[in-house]
């Protein structure tokens, strides 16, 4: 089916700041609609000021164009607001393999859970003996931690 084909094409659009995660892995690709004379792709930003959003929209357009779809409308929605709970399981695995700790699940910041916004373990050696260095890491979506066993600093993809 055409729609499935388009979705699988879009699964190749990577987050420019975390190049191992696709927009589908991140959960920011919210839908694809095939209308009479255009394709409508719905995406939602992770953070209001996410600087990757413009690049992501351009990448969506160019990859669809490369595959012969030239009438594309990108619909940016804010509600329901993106949550880190929407990251897929395979996205979480890829993130950890890349050296970034995956967001805790069921955290209270998502309004439903009661857990804490802490990485479970060091993504490098899996030690649980870790401490926070800073609430903000290299981008708005990450915090900075260090492992007290292997002594390596690492990024943590925050709950949101």
């Amino acid at each position: 089916m055409e729609k499935e084909k388009i979705i699988s094409i879009l699964e190749e659009v990577m987050d420019p700041e975390i190049p191992v995660l696709s927009i589908a892995d991140l959960g920011i690709l919210r839908g694809v609609e095939i209308l009479e004379n255009e394709i409508r792709v719905t995406v939602t930003p992770t953070y209001s000021g996410c600087p990757a959003m413009d690049t992501i929209q351009e990448d969506i357009r160019s990859i669809l164009l490369k595959n012969g779809f030239d009438k594309v409308k990108i619909n940016l929605v804010l509600s329901p607001a993106w949550t880190s709970e929407w990251m897929t399981d395979s996205g979480r695995e890829k993130l950890e393999a890349f050296g970034i700790a995956a967001p805790a699940l069921n955290h209270s910041c998502t309004m439903a859970g009661t857990g804490t916004d802490e990485p479970g373990h060091c993504p490098l050696c899996h030690s649980e003996n870790i401490e926070m260095i800073s609430r903000f890491g290299s981008t708005a979506c990450k915090a900075l931690y260090r492992c007290l066993d292997c002594r390596e600093p690492f990024d943590y993809f925050k709950c949101h």
């Binding site: 209001s48 000021g49 804010l78 607001a81 910041c109 609430r135 903000f136 890491g137 708005a140």
Partner: protein, 256 residues
């Protein structure tokens, strides 16, 4: 009235975002430089969403006029057209002053956007829903810093006392209701800031107490001559705009 209300919300976010961005490359340590730069990004992102919404409402209301864009609103208005509170245009000063301003504002913005989740304007409610997660994190970060500095060394405590003395007289404006805020509250799309003051006082004073700092008292001070929300700004806003708007005014429509 709706566009004035939206522009007020947007101007607050933009001007504080711009002030915070002035710390980029100048933070006391790299991690905190990055923290404040990220908060700046969140705020500027929120202001973009609000300006876009204001522009679309303005264009719907006046279809006969040349359509306005978010960039027109941010880059081509003069100081008296800006509606941000005077608190947010103050120079950064030292780290203590920057932290206290962020803490006061984030605490306020959290309550304001909590109410806006129920706005009759679905697009404004969506912006609130998006922003409030970011604001919660700003509250957490800035509260921790207020405690760290207040309950820190003699030097950091003294600096916080100075910051309180400088910024406290500017707080009342946050809770002073303007005509357009009253109209927004009555119309069901906005919130009356005066109604947020009791919750704000309680939350702020709980943190100030932990930080071993004097509590904020809502003294009935003589009314400020300045009212940023009504376009009467301190001299500082003009300097911000001179820097922020230079490129768009010198090279109209410039893109990079």
């Amino acid at each position: 009235m709706l566009s004035a209300y939206l522009i007020q919300l947007a101007d607050n976010a933009l001007i504080l975002g711009h002030r915070n961005s002035e710390w980029t490359g100048h933070g006391p340590v790299l991690e905190q430089d990055i923290a404040l730069s990220n908060i700046a990004l969140d705020l500027i992102g929120q202001s973009r969403n609000l300006y876009q919404l204001a522009a679309s409402r303005m264009n719907t209301l006046s279809p006969e006029k040349e359509p306005v864009t978010e960039d027109d609103l941010a880059y081509l208005r003069e100081a008296p057209d800006f509606k941000n509170v005077v608190l947010l245009e103050q120079p950064n000063g030292d780290w203590a002053k920057t932290i206290l301003r962020q803490f006061y504002f984030s605490r306020f913005q959290l309550l304001q956007f909590r109410d806006l989740l129920n706005s009759k304007d679905a697009d404004l409610a969506a912006i609130a829903e998006k922003s409030i997660k970011e604001i919660r994190y700003h509250v957490k970060w800035s509260s921790e810093w207020v405690c760290r500095l207040g309950d820190g060394t003699t030097e950091s405590h003294t600096r916080m006392l100075n910051a309180l003395e400088e910024l406290n007289p500017l707080v009342a404006e946050l809770f002073t209701t303007t005509d357009y805020e009253l109209a927004a509250a009555t119309g069901g799309w906005g919130t009356d800031p005066a109604s947020l003051q009791p919750d704000w006082l309680q939350a702020v004073n709980a943190t100030l107490q932990t930080a071993t700092l004097p509590l904020y008292r809502d003294e009935k001070k003589p009314a400020l001559l300045l009212s940023g929300k009504n376009g009467f700004h301190s001299e500082h806003l003009g300097f911000i705009l001179a820097e922020m708007q230079f490129l768009q005014r010198a090279y109209p429509g410039c893109d990079w």
